[in-house]
């Protein structure tokens, strides 16, 4: 995607012993699209942290406006013409003589005075509108961002850990262990992804933790495949053989020697999976298989928005869509730039 090419004069600086990460960072900085999307992603992460710490959007469940309050820039909803019930015209018959509850009305009226009720005035408009209950849509979108991004990132980390660990073992040892892991991989890929997710969802139930577990367990196979291929490639390279010669253990060679050399592959995969898992979480939550009922995510917002749209209340749909589209676009562009920076050979392939 990125169109900005690294300037060729970077190469000499790399040969001066600059680390691969520093070189990648230099390349990344020349990518304007990548830098801009990095800033947007960073802003979103700040938003997530602030909302997680309760600094903003902590009151998303407070019903601050009237039900379905329109956004402020649209203005309050036109008052609907309620059909008043006509006052009865007949004479007011005194039924206290036959009303069995009549003697206790006074007692109840006094008891009721002990409780104070305050009349809260609900806002007729909210900055970006309100939902069915009058909750601020903007706060919901921020809280939803916290849940959706957290789930996406955690699930991606889980999938990456599983995939990297198993891929490392399969690629490094090969043989019997490798065959068994290949068999596990074949089993997992034989079942289509969405069916695997449903099967896990059927047994794990709902909630943030479950969604992370479901997506992580169903989504590690792609990373496993790549990491395994990389480990097979590296396992017999000279530097690994040298490490073996000086007595480095298997674990040390796998995770201290080889892993840092393929970490750019893992990092790019992690970042690609974040976007995929956020989309999956949104769909799972929409279907009622995702986060719990007392939580909000972009998916639950979209599911509420479906019935609101028919009444002409478009703002919840717009808020969730805009938040998600901006984050996902920025994250995808950042991933592209990251891949280009870490693996210049791949540049321009897509």
């Amino acid at each position: 995607m990125s169109t900005v090419l690294a300037s060729p004069q970077l190469t000499p600086s790399m040969t001066r012993g600059k680390g691969v990460w520093a070189a990648a960072a230099t390349r990344f900085k020349t990518d304007h699209v990548g830098m801009a999307s990095l800033v947007i992603v960073a802003l979103f992460l700040l938003l997530v942290i602030a909302s997680g710490a309760g600094l903003i959007a902590a009151d998303w469940q407070v019903e601050r406006g009237v039900p379905d309050a329109p956004p402020s820039f649209v203005g309050p909803a036109a008052p609907t013409e309620g059909v008043a019930i006509a006052a009865p015209t007949g004479p007011n018959v005194d039924i206290s003589a036959i009303d069995p509850l009549a003697p206790r009305y006074k007692e109840w009226a006094e008891a009721a005075k002990k409780y104070q009720t305050t009349e809260t005035i609900k806002a007729t408009t909210l900055p970006f509108g309100g939902d069915r209950l009058g909750r601020d849509v903007l706060s919901k979108a921020i809280k939803g961002a916290q849940v959706s991004i957290l789930v996406g990132v955690s699930a991606a980390v889980l999938a990456t850990i599983i995939g990297t660990f198993l891929g490392a073992i399969a690629g490094f040892f090969g043989g019997k262990v490798g065959d068994i892991l290949e068999w596990v991989y074949n089993v997992f890929t034989a079942i289509p992804g969405i069916l695997l997710i449903f099967a896990f969802a059927a047994v794990f139930g709902r909630g943030i933790g479950s969604v992370v577990l479901i997506l992580g367990l169903a989504g590690w196979t792609g990373i496993y495949r790549l990491v395994r291929a990389e480990f097979i490639k590296h396992a017999n390279r000279d530097y690994v053989r040298s490490a073996e010669a000086i007595g480095a253990s298997n674990t040390a060679r796998m995770f201290r020697h080889i892993l840092p050399n393929i970490s750019h592959v893992v990092l790019v995969q992690l970042s690609i999976h974040v976007v995929g898992f956020i989309k999956s979480e949104v769909i799972l939550s929409y279907l009622g298989l995702g986060v719990g009922v007392d939580q909000v995510s972009w998916g639950t917002m979209l599911s509420e928005a479906q019935s609101e749209l028919i009444l002409g209340h478009w703002w919840q749909l717009a808020a969730a869509t805009i938040f998600m589209a901006v984050f996902v676009t920025a994250f995808s562009l950042m991933t592209d730039a990251l891949r280009d920076a870490l693996d210049p050979k791949l540049r321009g392939l897509e």
Partner: protein, 312 residues
């Protein structure tokens, strides 16, 4: 060829066994006790025990696994826990609706994406190419849900071009009345990623030497694209279609859910919501079988498309 087929089929057995074992263990370990689910809230301990005995849940694990294997081989999964409908019947009645929607989606998606991707690849680097690439990135970032919600609202509810949802018993009515909107929306959504992918396939081929040779001997651009590049790019495209094929049976479950189409995808979703294990288990196992068979067929298809491919 025969030897190849036999070996491939032989290799499927361990994978298939793994799938069955995985499904069995997953539901055994985390799925809760079927007897209490079946017994309902008012079942006495004796009733639950009776159900357990009937299902063989009191037997050792390997005997239960044997029962599970027998169910798969004999296609006898018993009845759905929720509706008491036999699982086999459930499959047979839900599959046609899924195919009515999914086959047009797959065909349209492939046939629209190929010319668009070829055109974009041909003008690579130009403003059109970049504009389309930016548009697809943006299109991809919006959730599938939004397209369907807005599409259903605008085209069916506001403009009234299609029915909002519905399904009938006649295949023809379904195809011309109820399927068009879901199909159009699904194709619109999948077109962006498919175009991006196919574009890279075409770009790969356009860079090859044979294209330069063809130009050098004076062939026109359309002939080069249609006769040389397209044929070579068909191999990865075929792979991609084959990978998507098993998905046909799962159905675009979201589409089915939105438009109340009584297909397999909606059924499996209902089963998940009702904890209807027999349906989910049967589904997972059979879809896995279909996936493996389709993969084998794809490999054979390669041989037909590209004589250079050697099956070994």
């Amino acid at each position: 060829m025969t030897a190849y087929l036999i070996r491939r089929l032989w290799q499927m057995i361990p994978t298939l066994f793994g799938v069955v074992l995985f499904v069995f263990l997953l539901f055994k370990a985390f799925g809760g006790d079927p007897a209490t689910v079946l017994g309902g809230q008012n079942a006495t301990a004796a009733q639950v025990d009776a159900i357990r005995q009937q299902l063989g849940l009191d037997r050792p694990l390997y005997v239960q696994f044997g029962i599970f294997l027998r169910q798969i081989v004999t296609f006898d999964w018993g009845n759905s826990w929720a509706t008491n409908e036999s699982v086999a019947h459930l499959f047979a009645t839900r599959l046609p609706a899924t195919l009515t929607v999914m086959v047009p989606i797959l065909l349209l998606d492939s046939f629209l994406a190929i010319p668009v991707a070829m055109g974009v690849a041909y003008v690579r680097g130009s403003l059109t190419d970049r504009a389309i690439m930016v548009a697809t990135t943006l299109a991809l970032s919006i959730s599938f849900l939004v397209y369907v919600i807005v599409g259903q609202y605008v085209f069916a509810f506001q403009l009234g071009l299609f029915p909002v949802q519905g399904w009938s018993d006649s295949v023809w009515t379904n195809l011309v009345t109820y399927a068009p909107l879901p199909v159009l929306l699904a194709v619109a959504v999948s077109l962006a990623p498919t175009t991006r992918l196919y574009r890279t396939f075409f770009l790969d081929e356009i860079g090859h030497d044979y294209v330069r040779t063809a130009r050098a001997k004076g062939l026109t651009e359309p002939v080069i694209l249609m006769k040389h590049v397209l044929r070579n790019a068909m191999i990865p495209i075929l792979t991609n279609v084959a990978v998507a094929l098993p998905g046909i049976f799962v159905g675009a479950f979201l589409i089915e859910q939105f438009f109340s189409i009584p297909g397999l995808g909606r059924e499996i979703l209902l089963a998940v919501n009702r904890s209807d294990y027999p349906v989910i288990q049967a589904f997972a196992v059979y879809i896995a079988v279909i996936t493996m068979v389709v993969n084998l067929l794809t490999d054979i298809l390669y041989k037909l498309v590209d004589p250079r491919v050697v099956l070994k």
